[in-house]
């Protein structure tokens, strides 16, 4: 890539910091050049986020329909899978999977719920009612 071809399409990262790219100057020598972003990877990231939004929406519907506990919703919202949730809460993966069932979730003690509220950054009430606040 030539230095003058380093793309400068403003990305969400570009608003905070430019990125270092390696490119060649007119004599073919490598130099560094700062980039504000590249359209191609902005849309790659957008594509990933559209998929996440879809997953959150589906999870929310499942909870509303009584097919899953609110943990599923917050898990998708937190970009987590059961493995990551287990690692942060200290529960076993099979326990997390059980807690995804509404009937099991309803019987969880506040103490256990607290382990979830900490990683999701919500209160117990918010967890139960699937209320979202922006962090």
């Amino acid at each position: 890539m030539k230095k003058e071809d380093v793309p400068q399409d403003l990305s969400s990262l570009g608003k905070i910091t430019k990125e270092v790219c390696y490119a060649t100057d007119h004599s073919g020598k490598y130099v560094t050049e700062l980039s504000r972003g590249w359209d191609i990877k902005i849309t790659a990231l957008d594509t990933a986020w559209e998929d996440i939004e879809d997953r959150i929406k589906i999870a929310g519907e499942k909870v509303s329909n009584g097919h899953a506990s609110p943990i599923l919703y917050f898990m998708e919202r937190g970009l987590m899978d059961t493995g990551i949730v287990a690692a942060y809460t200290g529960f076993r993966k099979w326990q997390v999977k059980r807690h995804l069932k509404p009937a099991v979730f309803k019987k969880l003690s506040d103490k256990k719920l607290q382990r979830y509220t900490e990683i999701f950054n919500v209160s117990i009430e918010e967890l139960k009612s699937m209320t979202v606040h922006e962090d």
Binding site: M1, S12, L13, I16, T17, Y22, T32, I40, A44, L45
Partner: protein, 339 residues
Amino acid sequence: MKIDFKHIQAAHCKTGVTRNLLRYAGVDKMTEPLAFGIGAGLFFVYIPLLKINNGPVIAFRTLPGHIFKRTCRSLGIPVIRKKFSSKEQAESFLEECLEKGQPVGCQVGVYYLSYFPKEYRFHFNAHNLVVYGKEPDNYLISDPIMENPTLLTPYELARVRFARGALAPRGQLYYPEKEAPITDDRMKKAIRSGIDKNVRNMLHIPTYMVGVKGIKYTGNKIKKWRDKLGLKKAGLYLAQMVRMQEEIGTGGGGFRYIYGAFLQEAYSYHPNDQLLEISNMFTRSGDSWREAAVQAAGIYKGRIGEQQDFNIMGDYLLEISEMEKQAFQALSKIKWHSS
């Protein structure tokens, strides 16, 4: 307390931390491309069964941790590295280092990294930064991918140092011990051994998912993604590949440009014209990776999506595989003048 540590921005977090810590330790000639090349950083692996963010793992560089370790070892610099079972221990050891005037590298997760934009905060636990001081309420942070130094509160730093999940950092910190300046002779040997190691990693690891064979394998797989996964999922997989290839930290072209820069710098230690020619080959390979990314974007944006478009996509990788095979074969045949 604030250590006189020079924050220099880098393309990649790990090589940036390595270079900045080594410079602090007195290795003035260390640059990011040298750290990358001596650390044998260039790689390719595709692991369809291991999923990150619901897509397959496609990596363009070696495992996190390897670059720093290898670069220091090749230069004969002892490394201090520690993991911790508790946040308290991790913090008190960090404070001890800072008090001694020692900046330290820390492995962290980006999910809770407060100064990153939200869009980039995935559960990725192999990010690296340097802590170089403490104010009453904040630690002074030099994150190589940021233009300027930043701050984290003790709570925020502990949280990212103890991120959980795959590659959990467990508070890991590391730093090179202070050393006498590295001689040109030592640097020459380290460069040579870094290149040898990278040749082995890209050409001779006997599995089909790794190195130049891995690129070819992935190219052939991509041609089948449309039928096998459906357009939407195939698009997501391609977007994931492009992100691994171009996202913060690669310097562009899936690290191929940094490697090209490394070979040019290697030339100033080993004046062999072939190194410059092979550097050009990596520049072309990086360019092809970026052209492939443009093709991929056409697919995940939904602008194109016929089988023929996937064939073109796959063919890019087959071509790149061949280009990099030739480049590494040429590197393996270089006649090094005795040093």
